[in-house]
Symmetry: C2
Subunit: 136 residues, 2 copies
DNA sequence: TTCTTGACCTGGACTCCGTCCATCGTAGGA
DNA sequence: TCCTACGATGGACGGAGTCCAGGTCAAGAA
């Protein structure tokens, strides 16, 4: 399983059963889970895992660039294991499901110099909103 | 002050001192305030105003399309009174300040049909991230 | 102007998401 | 095998937002 764990081990991570399980959950399915959903699925494999551990592990994966944090609404953040392939998100305004999408063009290039107000702009996130087939 | 109040009155809103004050706060400054910041400024004008009322009023203004909700990080939502002029946001990754920007091009057009997965896509929000002049 | 009434406001309890911390356990090098 | 620093635990805590029962008041009617 999981080059993810290999990469983490390579970065000096201690490989514990908890971290293995979290990596496995993220690896398993390419949906965008909330921390609590990750915890629930992880607890299915390792009943004693705590919420704090899941939060810590997710946070560490994010700061290592292995996982991407997505917060499309004001509610719980979601975690996207597809961090190595740049992409944007398409969100259903009704049920909240998220799909990775690959638009053409580069939004960064669309921000002219006189619209940058002295900022050093490093990234552009695009969130498309609409209704998914089952909610429409 | 405020065509905003006039428009709201036109939609059948009862104009109360609380709503007047919230409208005034949003009108006054074109920064992007959190609900608590709105509450603090409103309380300066009308000390007894409650948090719940501020939340209700902001929520109503949003659902009438008079104010726009912006949640750029996982933290508190911010409220943008500039809802009638389409624009995107430029956010400082360090201090969190937000500027309205007007990129060229239309991100919606950049999402080809085969990337829509049956969704009826209605909007695209772009968030540019970087460091503002004082944080750089 | 006064009356009436339903929309509105209040404040406090509550939920949800996330963080912190003291303590205990254990992965992995010696 | 032993040691120890890194990691896990779970319970308390904090911020943001929602809910609700009861009191208040804007604005139309008379």
């Amino acid at each position: 399983m999981s080059d993810l764990l290999e990469r983490l081990r390579g970065r000096g991570w201690r490989v514990t059963s908890q971290r293995r399980v979290v990596a496995e959950v993220l690896d398993g399915d390419h949906v965008h889970l909330t921390a609590d959903e990750v915890h629930a699925r992880a607890a299915h494999l390792l009943p004693e895992i705590s919420r704090a551990t899941v939060y810590n592990t997710l946070g560490e994966m994010v700061s290592l660039g292995e996982v991407m944090e997505v917060s499309t609404d004001g509610r719980a953040k979601r975690y996207d294991p597809n961090a190595h392939h740049p992409h944007q998100h398409l969100v259903c305004s009704n049920c909240g499901t998220i799909r990775d999408v690959h638009p053409t063009g580069s939004p960064l290039a669309d921000l002219p110099q006189d619209q940058r107000f002295g900022f050093t702009v490093s990234a552009a996130e695009v969130t498309y909103r609409g209704l998914c087939p089952s909610c429409a």
